[in-house]
Symmetry: C2
Subunit: 555 residues, 2 copies
């Protein structure tokens, strides 16, 4: 930014590069709606008042919001590369994202983190990065990499690194694990993200005492309030799988709780969903529907997220802020008609700037040990733990069945086998278990998107189909596949780390829809997202029972 130009433009001594005339400004700094012209210079807002210039756009009273900020997301979970992800976010008004590349880090360690930093370097959207703190997420699994504090030190000075990603290892924090404390200390002058699903109040205090500042796992108002009281910022999540806004916001509005330490995030949201409806605009619209004063909802979506992450020049419409602006047809519907980034309509920006190539290690990340159909034979034992899926939740419930009940369930189709195969270092390690409520018949489904270690997860009622599904994913180097009666029905290759596609938006969203249709036609329970729900079955930080490459674990 050239300060002199900005000051002169603000004074009216220099013509603005752009004037947005007759705007109704959503002034998140005062909670007001104000009318005026917005003058832009060198990509920044010079002033709001009466301005003219050679390049004006008459907004005819339309609303203008600061660009929305997605306060916490995992871009890899969209299954798209950063450039595609950002393009879809921009379409719906998000001009800044705070990302945590911990999926790719679990596959490819620092090389994965650096790849996401490099790949997002020249994007039109502001792409901030929280460095993954927990790779692997727990000692109960094997990821592609193990990142210790010494590995993370190299990122502290990166200009787009805003802090340390979600600290999931609550046990390690409470035990004062030296490596964890060192990670927290490395990033102590930045923002330390947390991850605390369903933790009781008395355990929140030590977590906050460790210096952790945010959490995005609240599923109820009471949980969110306890976290706020303990000093954590609460990021309200609406993703593809987890939808927490209604529960939290209804309580906030009912109790009149101070909203100044809340912001909005998606955590994990698929490209298909973003493509259809965007992200943060959904939070704003729903919060207003629930009764939040509109400008307050926009505050959560903009200045409050910026404040949490120390982003001083975004999140508001005032002199010196970046001219990241969302033009809205309707305040309550959050219907986005145009988006400016640095004072330029986003469509005029280079949405696909030249990209660094994908490193070899990331392009070939599926390395399996020898497998055969008898891998999937259940060992003889008196009784077996069963993972019960819960519709519309990523939580699971534990069941116990006898050998006879298991045989009957597998035959009748009420049970599936589920296996997690270590896929990073070809160790041949495999965990085998049983799954209920998923609903597939006469086949198998497999994926290399299996939070957070992203091993190869396969489920099915036929050992042969399970084997074929595994082989198919090895062939395409990761993705999702559906197999039925010895035939591959559909495959979505995700060759970039086994997590992300190299397709463009349209073919990718079409492919996802095709696989989704196919999965339901194969009998998947309508209350369950066939892919997202499956991908979380291997995540041993979420209750109550999971499966990893080391076997079935209770959380």
């Amino acid at each position: 930014m050239n300060r002199q130009n900005l000051i002169k433009t603000a004074l009216g001594k220099k013509e603005p590069d752009l004037v947005l005339k007759n705007a109704t400004v959503i002034q998140v700094l005062t909670g007001e709606l104000l009318t005026g012209d917005i003058a832009v210079c060198d990509g920044y807002i010079a002033g709001v008042g009466r301005y003219d210039g050679p390049h004006t756009v008459d907004l005819q009273g339309r609303y203008v919001s600061p660009g929305f900020i997605n306060a916490h997301c995992h871009v890899e979970s969209s299954m798209a590369l950063p450039e595609l992800y950002c393009q879809e976010e921009l379409r719906f008004g998000v001009t800044a994202v705070v990302t945590d590349p911990h999926e790719i880090a679990n596959v490819a360690g620092n090389e994965g983190i650096q790849f996401m930093l490099d790949r997002s370097e020249n994007l039109p959207l502001h792409y901030f990065v929280q460095i993954p703190s927990c790779v692997p997420a727990t000692p109960l699994e094997h990821a592609g990499s193990v990142l210790k504090a010494r590995d993370l030190a190299c990122f502290t000075q990166h200009p787009r690194v805003t802090g340390l990603g979600e600290m999931m290892d609550f046990y390690g924090v409470s035990q004062c694990d030296p490596d964890i404390l060192e990670k927290l200390s490395l990033y102590r002058h930045k923002v330390l993200d947390g991850h605390l699903p369903s933790v009781p109040q008395e355990l929140l205090q030590p977590y906050a005492a460790a210096g952790i500042q945010t959490d995005h796992e609240s599923v109820s108002f009471e949980e969110a309030r306890e976290k706020l009281r303990a000093g954590l910022y609460v990021l309200i999540r609406e993703g593809s799988g987890s939808k927490n806004l209604d529960a939290i916001m209804e309580g906030v509005l009912r109790e009149g709780l101070d909203t100044s330490r809340l912001a909005f995030c998606t955590d994990d949201k698929h490209l298909l969903d973003i493509h259809r409806e965007g992200t943060i605009r959904c939070h704003i619209r729903r919060a207003i529907e629930l009764g939040m004063p509109p400008v307050t909802a926009y505050q959560l979506a903009t200045i409050q997220a910026a404040r949490i992450y120390g982003l001083r020049d975004i999140g508001a419409i005032a002199p010196g802020y970046r001219a990241d602006l969302v033009i809205l047809e309707d305040l309550k519907q959050v219907s986005v008609s145009d988006v400016y980034v640095g004072g330029v309509p986003y469509r005029d920006l280079s949405l696909r700037p030249p990209m660094p190539p994908v490193p070899e290690r990331i392009l070939h990340s599926v390395h399996l040990g020898g497998i055969s159909p008898d891998c999937f034979a259940l060992p003889e034992q008196d009784c077996y733990p069963v993972i019960h899926m819960v519709p519309r939740q990523i939580l699971t419930r534990k069941g116990i069945l006898t050998q006879d009940e298991v045989s009957q369930g597998l035959t009748e189709g009420s049970l599936l086998k589920i296996a997690v195969l270590e896929r990073h270092h070809a160790t041949g390690r495999m965990g085998l278990g049983l799954l209920a409520q998923y609903g597939l018949r006469h086949g198998a489904i497999a994926t290399t998107v299996a939070h957070d270690s992203h091993n190869l997860l396969v489920a099915g009622d036929s050992d042969e189909d399970m084997l074929l599904a595994v082989q198919e994913l090895e062939r395409v180097q990761g993705g999702y596949t559906l197999v039925q009666n010895g035939r591959v029905m559909a495959t979505l290759p995700l060759p970039i780390g086994g997590l992300m596609s190299d397709l463009d938006v349209e073919p990718l969203t079409e492919k996802i829809q095709e696989l989704t249709r196919c999965a339901y036609s194969m009998g998947v329970n309508p209350g369950i997202d066939p892919f997202i729900a499956l991908s979380f079955l291997a995540l041993p930080v979420i209750p109550e029972i999971r499966i990893t490459d080391m076997g079935v674990v209770e959380v």
Copy 2:
């Protein structure tokens, strides 16, 4: 802070150093009043919940606020040294101050700034410093020092320096003066304070565009709102001279304006007033009286000031925050019964730690050129500008009188002569003018506290008494003095830079009271503070007419 100890204490695995049992916590993070025990470890809050330990204090339900923060003050204006000032602030619950040593900087330049940094190094209260940006305040006067950007570069890394002090040179900012832009740039990652009395909206935009973030000069709600809209934080001032809270707050409450970018400050408040009533507690009490929800008022006094100045570990009661706590008998009266700093009752702390000596330059700062009674003879001219004081304001109004009217006014006592003598470098430069509405008869008053250059200001109706007053201040090396009919009536020596006393609190406050009584007995207008109002007559950044060592100036 030892993180391990803090985490273990929070978990209940280690005994807290102190437990404040049965507190009613003013939870400024959520806007609630909550009950619980506050556990303290190593000076920090470990947790709020159920805690016990060998050292407990039962608060029996009394209110506990985070320590108050005075967001902008000039310690020198109290006439006391930092250690005395802080002791008086602590008594009434202020545990952190953001100071701007621009008075001493005008006398002694960088040596003055360094002296205030050194003198505040080991104080029990958190003493943050904004480096003076405008020494001298304007080109219309001569101060003891001239500080350019290159002079200020040495302070940027000091751990207690939070930014650049109030930028008063609006003209320089709007003209993109290179040295001013360099000063702003030097401190651009910290906080840039502003100073914008009565500036119209269209001139606010360039000021904010320059990166300036705060202002404490608003005297009306409308003015404060315009500044907030332009992106400035508004620090609401209640000092000895300027009292702006009622006007601003009534509007804020009436219009329901968002209060999240407001905080409280004193700017200039005398030790006598602080000793009698404190500082920030007066803001809180009055805001509540005016109808602000009590916890909101405490938010302005604590977390919001902390947020503005990037003070991450103060301003709230939650794990990881400093155990700076104010115990209150009454929420609305803000009656302070005890104050803890870092978990220790402030009275148990070393309130007068070993202090570095006062440098020679600062102890002998009054250097006058040769003077004689005929210095004060008015030049012959047709008409004369007159400075009219305005009761209860630091603003002035301009009048014009003929020679005859002036002669008559001086004889009748409705006019005084007023002179400003350069006193730093013995240049002999002097400005002479006329003063109305002050009200002194048969004598003179003189002071070396004359904002912001702190030259020697003298006013009186007798040339001989004026001369004697000047000589008296030269003798004691600065302060205030009153002379009547050839006799020194009372003197308050302020030998430290001509600004601060070396007396302790009691003798100092008694002396101030003595001088005040004496001034009124000599005829000073009851609506005018005899010292503060006089001290601002030389400040050429405040409208409408002032006097400096270069003469009478219109602002």
